[in-house]
Amino acid sequence: MSRTEKIRGGVAEAMAHDSARLHVTGAARYCDDIQAPAGLAHACLGLAEAAHGRIVSLDLAAVKAAPGVLGVLTASDIPGANDISPTGRHDEPVFATGEVLFHGQPLFAVVAETRDAARRAARLAEVEIVPLPAILDLDAARAAGGKLVTAPLTLTLGDVDAAIAAAPRRLAGRMAIGGQDHFYLEGHIALALPGEDGEVAVFSSTQHPSEVQHMVAHVLGLPSNRVTVEVRRMGGAFGGKETQSNLFAAVAALAAVTLDRPVKLRPDRDDDMVATGKRHDMEVDYEVGFDAAGNVLGVEMTFAARCGFSADLSGPVTDRTLFHADNCYHWPAARLTSEPLMTHTVSNTAFRGFGGPQGMLAAERVIEEVAFALGEDPLTIRTRNVYGDAARAVTPYHQRVEDNIAPRLMAALAERADYWARRAALRRANADSAVIKRGLALTPVKFGISFTATHFNQAGALVHVYADGSVRLNHGGTEMGQGLYMKVAQVVAEEFQIDVDRVRITATTTDKVPNTSATAASSGSDLNGMAARNAARAIRDRLTDFAAESHGVARDQVSFLPGRVRVGNAEIAFDELVRQAYMARVQLSATGFYKTPKIHWDRVAGRGRPFYYFSYGAAAAEVAVDTATGEYQVERVDILHDVGRSLNPAIDRGQIEGGFVQGMGWLTTEELWWDDAGRLRTHAPSTYKIPLASDRPRVFNVHLAEDSENREETIYRSKAVGEPPLMLAMSVLHALSDAVASVADYSLCPRLDPPATPERVLAAVDRLREAAR
């Protein structure tokens, strides 16, 4: 590199995604695009067609006899444990035995020469299931005694009973919140290759290669050192590939080892949607005490979550619901309780936000209720209750909010979006428009960053500098589209002061960096960026030592400049210094490790500091609603979002816009619909409607919060961005609510529950018109 003053692709540069060029040419390889190894066979799962029942017989003779079939696998073929429960509770078998617990539960797998043959054969099973009473929803779960899949949690702050009892005003209500399918464009897939001496390699579309490794070993009865799991990239994940990949990887590996052939398992989209977990739908019972000025004095909330048949991640998910049941608001007294209920439905799982969004929605509903009860604008009540100075900074889990910029963001956005003037104009316009009504809302976001299970907050990286000065980078984080690989490569480029093109990004694999955590909880760049920096610094330190020693100068006389290293008064090209270091037998490879400081959490006591820091944002949405049909469109959205000092503003903006639209889908058109038999009937894009290009806001102004930096020592003072923007979409739900409220002259809280489909919106309009009559 010539003597440029700046490297290409350092930290804070708006670089394109590292695979952008491969994406647009179709050359980016996903698991299903790996060239088929010789002898590749294909597996298909056989799924139960009952929500709950006793398996009387499983006759697979016709399956085995079908054309092209190589073998059939059931629980009895599993050499290790018939268990893929990520919690160690042994409540989630690979294949059901004895009892079926949800419609779509895997019973067996068939392996055939082609995928088509396997799919056809799977449908030939003769399965006899004696139906048992099925608990399909939360009402049924409570009526049946309220069996829980995992231990509930209660967070307590102050004396909430006394606070509510003493409050001048009180109200109570219930909110139902819908679930959400991840709808990653690339469905689940695993490709397993048998190796020698019991080894198996698995290519898996997973956010959590280490867990897939452990599960495959567990199912096959092997130590982890026999199993390698690799993933270069996923076609989207959103939490849906955190634990849900285990099933597909375990079955593919089992089939590969059993048949001693490479086996691929790629379920059809319908099977993927039916057999894998989703965002938890919940019902929230809330009671709030407040004063005439709109100050909330006490809040009690109970979150009943439909967890499905097993625990999966429902414990930490519902915990995070409680951690976010304040959103940005100071509840002086609170009691927040989770009720993780067992149902005979697919086991719900991680999904961007991880339970947090449901808690935040409940907080916003409480605010909205208070506003309508007092005849105030909801933004007034939001501003009144937002976290503030030291006296108003304690959360229901007793962590202090020390980095609070929510009030500043809300005020700045209100001004930027011209909230008050537009609100006035829109209400005047509504008075003159009989059918089409407009609504406006501004909602904030505060999201806690860290895994609440403290031990997950660790990461490793492996960096090699080759003798030619090129760098190869590996870490435990996975790439699912979020741009993690690029951000971490930019960090390494920055450390060495070389162009990012010199840093080769490589697939995540368990034999390079072990014992990794899921790429989840928005933590990817915080954890892996730090680990990679530490690895790069270890090598840089050795290069510094070598340069100082070989040139006879002090260490502080060595500095890394763009593309070169200054040693005393001399400058040496980076590549040349590396070559010299190699010749001098300097180790040019290093691992890096990082663990998040300061965090601790005592779940029994309900106290601690589960989060290293908080990310903030605010959004203002305007909608137009047809009050005769319930149809609507999002007219304008303004966003101000905090990413600290951005590692890559282009990628961060993409996360914000994408998260917003995904959240909007959750709260509007994405409706999961089960029939009375417990069958999911919205199991493909023909019936399950995620947003399209034409659903995005007609005007979409997105800005990163200026002058923001992380108060904590995160990687280059950046902030996590994966999950928080999803909840900016609460503004759309509340704007719809505002439009609905117009039909009763803003006198009644619409209590519009998500997903706010046109049908739900019309129902709210009709209900308010009726009540106001």
Binding site: H23, V24, L185, V435, E631, Y632, E657, V661
Partner: protein
């Protein structure tokens, strides 16, 4: 006697491909990925709803080759006959230089996970190739058949503008019409249970001989019988090469659409006939579905939620059917007998639909209600047509989809309107009468109660638009 050819012939990557040993139900997507090793085209849903498998098919039309986006996941291999197949691998120049569409996608940060990206690139390439400029709305319409879960679409729509500002290699490797014309030999193609006649007479003969055959036009519905239902639909008779079924005849009195005319092809003629159809056509499927799907197919498969029958019934359309021996015609509404049952004799097939031109005094509108505005199946679709003379309703035709087991007219409501002055009283009576016309069911698209309520509200919207056209009563999507 028509000659027979035992191979499918099409252009692909600069040469004529001949496929003889393929099964009828093999999809273009599976062939690309599994046989050709061209894995840039992705499977996201295998039902034509996500667009990750979008490829372009070139066909000769009016002295040019028109390239249209279609879903490879539900296109059967035989449907490539006589076409030029273009996939994402065929775009960038041989030295790796990106096309303006690809370059714009990179510059606008329009890919994140990248799995949907090849489909978006293909959909945008079709638009860029076909037009010298496009509005944001044009871009959105071109992308209605493509789902992205990562970006929120904003950068993709921006790329749809940027691609017109960039120069670079040709957007796609277009061929000359002569190269496609040279493939047409008039022979009936027969490959592994796939039968594709090249003339109406040949089609009639084939259906007479094999009345159990599945007739396929665009396969936007039938494709799912195979990819999802794993059904054996052979012999499969594909009508896409019968020129007579692709004719559009715009007469002074009526419009006649051959049964093989796609939504895309019919769109301009339909809008010239009844401008109210424009908004509906813009919401049927996505570009990929409109390019492949046919109005004849939408009628012939008898779906209770097909979007075209309600407006066509309201407009007084007649259906033309043919068997080898005879041609007959019937009012469209009489074709739908019951759920899944149409007035169709063995060996008989739909040849055309004929729609009379509305007269002065005719008011017509069609409204579609769905969970998501675009590319969604109707919860209900209501079409309204009245002929007014001095404020009196001399004729009323109302038809709904999604309200009964078939597309169905609202006979009681129509009777409440006919001969009456078009006023609030008559409107209320007609709305009340709808309850006698329909008893819709609950399903995942909507509850029966919502459908009933909306049916009345849509009639009210129609009243408002016919009596107070200045007052906005529906969302303006711009």
């Amino acid at each position: 006697m028509t000659s027979t050819r035992g191979a499918i012939r099409f252009l692909h990557r600069g040469r004529v491909r001949e496929l003889a040993a393929e099964s009828a139900t093999r999809t273009v997507l599976d062939w690309l990925r599994e046989t050709e090793g061209l894995t840039g085209t992705k499977e996201g849903c295998a039902e034509g709803d996500c667009g990750a498998c979008t490829v372009l098919l070139g066909r000769a039309e009016a002295g040019a080759v028109r390239y249209e986006a279609v879903n490879a996941c539900i296109a059967f291999l035989g449907m490539l006959e006589g076409r030029h197949l273009v996939t994402v691998e065929d775009l960038a120049a041989s030295d790796g230089t990106l096309t303006p569409v690809q370059q714009a996608m990179v510059e606008c940060h329009a890919s994140q996970c990248g799995f949907c990206t090849p489909g978006f690139v293909m959909a945008l390439s079709a638009l860029r190739h076909a037009s010298a400029s496009a509005s944001a709305r044009d871009v959105e319409v071109a992308l209605q058949g493509n789902l992205c879960r990562c970006t929120g679409y904003q950068p993709i729509v921006e790329a749809g503008a940027r691609m017109y500002e960039l120069t670079g290699p040709p957007v796609l490797p277009a061929v000359e019409p002569g190269e496609l014309d040279a493939l047409e030999d008039g022979a009936t193609v027969r490959v592994g249970g796939f039968v594709q006649p090249a003339s109406l007479d040949a089609l009639a003969d084939i259906l007479q001989a094999t009345p159990e055959a599945t007739i396929v036009a665009g396969a936007t519905d039938v494709g799912l019988w195979v990819t999802k239902g794993l059904r054996d639909i052979t012999p499969m008779v594909h009508i896409g090469r019968v020129a007579a079924l692709r004719e559009i005849d715009e007469g002074p009195e009526r419009l006649r659409l051959g049964a093989g005319v796609s939504y895309t092809q019919a769109w301009p003629a339909l809008v010239r006939l009844a401008p109210g159809l424009d908004a509906l056509l813009a919401r049927i499927g996505g570009a990929q579905v409109r390019n492949a799907g046919t109005i004849g197919g939408n009628i012939a498969n008898g779906s209770p939620i097909g979007d075209m029958p309600p407006p066509l019934i309201a407009l007084g359309a007649r259906l033309e059917l043919r068997s080898r021996g005879e041609v007959r015609e019937l009012p469209l509404e009489d074709f739908f007998l019951d759920y899944g049952r149409q007035d169709l004799a063995p060996g008989e097939f739909v040849t055309a639909v004929t729609i009379p031109r509305p007269k002065p005094g005719t008011h017509f509108a069609v409204y579609k209600i769905s969970k998501r505005r675009d590319e969604d199946i109707s919860a209900l679709c209501g079409a309204f047509r009245i002929d007014l003379v001095d404020g009196v309703v001399v004729e009323a035709r109302i038809a709904f989809g999604g309200m009964a087991a078939t597309p169905k007219r609202a006979a009681v409501a129509e009777a409440a309107m006919r001969g009456r002055t078009w006023d609030e009283t008559v409107l209320d009576a007609a709305i009340a009468a709808l309850a006698m016309d329909y008893a819709p069911i609950d399903d995942w698209r909507a509850s029966g109660a919502y459908r009933s309520r909306i049916a009345g509200n849509l009639l009210r919207r129609f009243f408002a638009e016919t009596t107070e056209p200045a007052m906005p009563v529906r969302l303006a999507h711009v």
